[in-house]
């Protein structure tokens, strides 16, 4: 499927590593909002920190390229989504994702793929995980403007060296 340039939404989730307290409120919000399916991986960093690993909704998504049934596609907003009917739960997408953002634990035998809370975003809202974030670590920002900022690296705002987690 092809995207329609006119309706593309360029906002993406960015995590500030200095601010995340590892409370997993984002994952709980995702769990509640998607009827028990948590589309957000808990990234455990050397047993020192727990950070959410969220889908980057890549321009050229490796998960979609790898999907043998064509269940993953880029929609008209530019969001990488999963077709409810085509997904067979083979986990290829989870293996292909370079960020490890698709949970290995599949609920209902389909890929728990983040849809960026498209129901809320198209209505002008923000994804549930970002809304819920207790420390303001997650933000939903125009990626084009954020990419140029010095601390931005791959969907993350780098720590300023104050992050000790100990």
């Amino acid at each position: 499927m092809t995207s329609t340039a006119t309706s593309k939404i360029g906002r993406r989730i960015v995590l500030d590593l200095d601010l995340c307290i590892g409370c997993r409120a984002c994952a709980a919000a995702c769990h509640v909002g998607h009827d028990g399916q948590t589309n957000l991986v808990a990234g455990r960093v050397a047993d020192v920190a727990v950070l959410p690993v969220n889908c980057r909704h890549c321009e050229r998504p490796a998960c979609a390229s790898a999907c043998p049934t064509g269940a993953l596609y880029t929609d008209s907003y530019g969001f990488v989504r999963r077709s409810d009917l085509r997904c067979v739960g083979c986990r290829t997408c989870a293996l292909a994702c370079p960020f490890g953002a698709i949970p290995g634990e599949f609920v209902r035998h389909v890929s728990p793929k983040c849809n960026l809370c498209v129901d809320r975003v198209v209505a002008g809202g923000i994804p549930r995980c970002v809304s819920s974030c207790t420390s303001g670590a997650m933000s939903f920002v125009e990626l084009e403007q954020t990419v140029g900022t010095p601390d931005y690296v791959g969907g993350r705002i780098q720590s300023h060296g104050t992050l000790r987690r100990a």
Partner: protein
């Protein structure tokens, strides 16, 4: 119905607001037309955020195990009964106890899940009965609350989150980000967005809040009270001369061996000077403390000393509790003369039940046996002539009750709740209570009518001999504590480890409400005990293996998690686990009349590979 209702999260005293979209037709309603939760960004201290518990608030309202009919115990079994029969039976048995043993044999324990109006109605009913035994607060919060009250500190309170955001220097005592994760947003905003600001943390073990401390003032485990004494002592030369308690403080610290105190606390005055200089230079300062079960040798002294340090340093002070409406309930009771100086405090009621001094207890909106489990209180409550519990979910106290009444939860009743900042919020009923569940307000009104004591009860007899509460003086109490610590030394039995709480942001307090939610099951690590790497190696256990924590009177079996940074001699365990709570010793202090909690001492035995 498509209008969103703004509710208040019931899981801590932060008082976060949330939106409930009831029924079909809303913007984000699912296939089944079930109510949905949304985030309230317009107001509230959370500004849209919700912690893991708050996100699950609707699950509690829609839970299949909700109590939906009054139950009465007959032949040892709880059986459903109509409201008429339940209320008639309770009134009759209450009257019988008052007739036979007087109103002193009756107690009312009001939890922080009540609205302020419900607390007021309960106080009125008790007053009309002539009953002085009325207290409010979950056991979780009583220690901290009583210590702050006894210190009589005059620190200015933190009144809203904007003040937190504006703070240039903040001291956080304990792990507040786990107790109230939504507090992180304003505190870290001050910490990072203004970059020049300082956030200092004081704790005995590594935790979620201490990650962000700079400096991270690390005292010896469970020695937060002594560490705060070190801070206060170091601040004394900077204290305003007109502080009423300054002479008492100077006298105390003149007598205490400073070197011993610093060694005992594991915190040197030289280590804190940089932070104290920054605090003195900061235009806006704050001291924040929170209630955590059995985290320190003397949680009440931690609260009191933090409040005094806040006053001395001109900082604003915030004490966060586990109970959502603790402040509102306490205010409502205070307006009606409770706690009665001649009456019993909440934990004293438990003790009186054990000794036979109390014969009827009405527990509304909390679960004392979940918070303070153990065979003696459970046996004592089971031996009461009348135990009435009103709660939304089944619980440990309900298991012993003669009457279990289905209470309405926060999203199902109207009234007022006051958060830890002192901000009152109106509760609106977003959903109807299930089945025959009713709010405690309705229950108290019906009960008052059946007891023939309808009205405010202002004319009712007050308990006689309203002697002032014994007050040994906070500094005398601190001096006594430090003397005792010095006398007893730091000797620890061989093989014994200090048991400290490893709270989870997915659980609240004793877990009596949050254990019903689905999310904690996803956070498997939160149910584990935490050992240091050296300790695990010595025991020959690996992460995921099970160990038995053995205390003097109880034991608990838990899976292991390994934390390399944990100091030696310490084991962390989840405080929402009833088996872990049994390992924490508690008693009612005869002089202070409050709850004494001591971190447990346990030995750890390996059990082998986990399941």
């Amino acid at each position: 119905m498509t209008d969103a209702v703004v509710g208040v999260c019931p899981f801590c005293s932060m008082g976060c607001t949330l939106r409930i979209l009831p029924g079909a037709g809303g913007a984000y309603v699912g296939e089944a037309g079930m109510p949905r939760l949304d985030y309230e960004t317009a107001g509230g201290p959370n500004r849209g955020s919700l912690c893991a518990k708050g996100n699950m608030a609707l699950e509690l309202l829609l839970h299949p195990r909700r109590l939906d009919a009054p139950q009465v115990r007959s032949d040892g079994q709880l059986r459903p009964v109509g409201w008429d029969a339940a209320l008639g039976g309770i009134a009759e048995r209450l009257q019988a106890v008052v007739r036979d043993a007087g109103p002193r044999a009756v107690g009312f324990w009001l939890g922080a899940q009540l609205t302020s109006e419900e607390a007021a109605a309960a106080a009125d009913l008790a007053r009309a009965l002539g009953c002085g035994n009325v207290d409010g607060g979950d056991p979780e919060d009583l220690t901290l609350r009583d210590g702050i009250q006894r210190s009589r500190a005059g620190a200015r309170p933190v009144e809203d989150v904007a003040q937190l955001e504006a703070m240039a220097c903040t001291l956080v005592v304990g792990d507040l980000f786990t107790l109230a994760p939504c507090l992180a947003k304003p505190v870290l905003h001050a910490r990072y967005d203004r970059r020049q600001n300082q956030l200092a943390t004081l704790s005995g073990v590594p935790n979620r809040t201490a990650w962000f401390g700079k400096p991270d003032l690390r005292c010896r485990p469970a020695r937060e009270a002594a560490a705060l004494a070190v801070l206060l002592r170091a601040w004394l030369p900077r204290c305003p001369a007109d502080l009423p308690w300054l002479p008492a403080a100077r006298e105390l610290f003149a007598e205490v061996d400073a070197d011993w105190l610093e060694q005992h606390a594991g915190l040197r005055a030289a280590q804190v000077q940089g932070f104290l200089d920054a605090l003195a230079a900061a235009p806006q300062r704050g001291v924040l403390v929170g209630a955590t079960f059995g985290a320190s040798e003397r949680g009440d002294l931690v609260g009191g000393l933090a409040a005094l340090f806040a006053e001395a340093s001109g900082s604003r002070f915030l004490a966060l509790n586990q109970g959502a409406n603790l402040r509102g309930v306490r205010q409502a009771l205070a307006a009606r003369g409770y706690p009665d100086p001649a009456g019993l405090t909440a934990p004293q009621m438990l003790e009186a039940a054990m000794t036979g001094g109390l014969r009827a207890l009405v527990v509304l909106g909390c679960d004392p046996l979940a918070a303070l489990p153990g065979s003696s209180p459970a046996k004592a409550l089971a031996g009461l002539e009348l135990l009435v519990v009103s709660a939304p979910m089944p619980g440990a106290t309900g298991d012993k009750a003669h009457y279990v009444l289905p209470g309405a939860a926060f999203g199902e009743k109207t009234g007022t709740t006051t958060n830890g900042f002192g901000t009152a919020a109106r509760l609106c009923a977003a959903l109807p209570a299930p089945g025959a569940a009713r709010s405690e307000g309705w229950l108290l009104e019906q009960l008052a009518a059946r007891l023939g004591v309808r009205g405010t009860g202002a004319a009712g007899p007050r308990t006689a001999s309203a002697a002032p509460r014994p007050d040994a003086g906070f500094f005398a109490e601190l001096a006594l504590f430090l003397q005792q610590e010095r006398r007893e030394g730091t000797a620890q039995a061989a093989g014994s480890h200090l048991l400290l709480p490893a709270a989870s942001p997915a659980q609240a307090g004793d877990g009596s409400l949050t254990r019903w939610l689905s999310w904690p099951a996803h956070e498997a690590q939160d149910g584990c005990c935490v050992l240091s790497a050296a300790h695990a190696q010595a025991l020959g256990v690996r992460a995921g293996d099970r160990v038995r924590l053995r205390g003097p009177a109880a034991e608990a079996v838990l899976a292991v998690r390994i934390e390399p940074r944990l100091p030696p001699g310490v084991v962390l365990a989840p405080p929402h686990d009833p088996a872990v709570r049994r390992l924490v010793r508690w008693r009612v202090d005869p002089v202070r009349r409050d709850l004494d909690l001591e971190p447990g001492r346990v030995s750890v035995e390996p059990l082998g590979a986990g399941t």
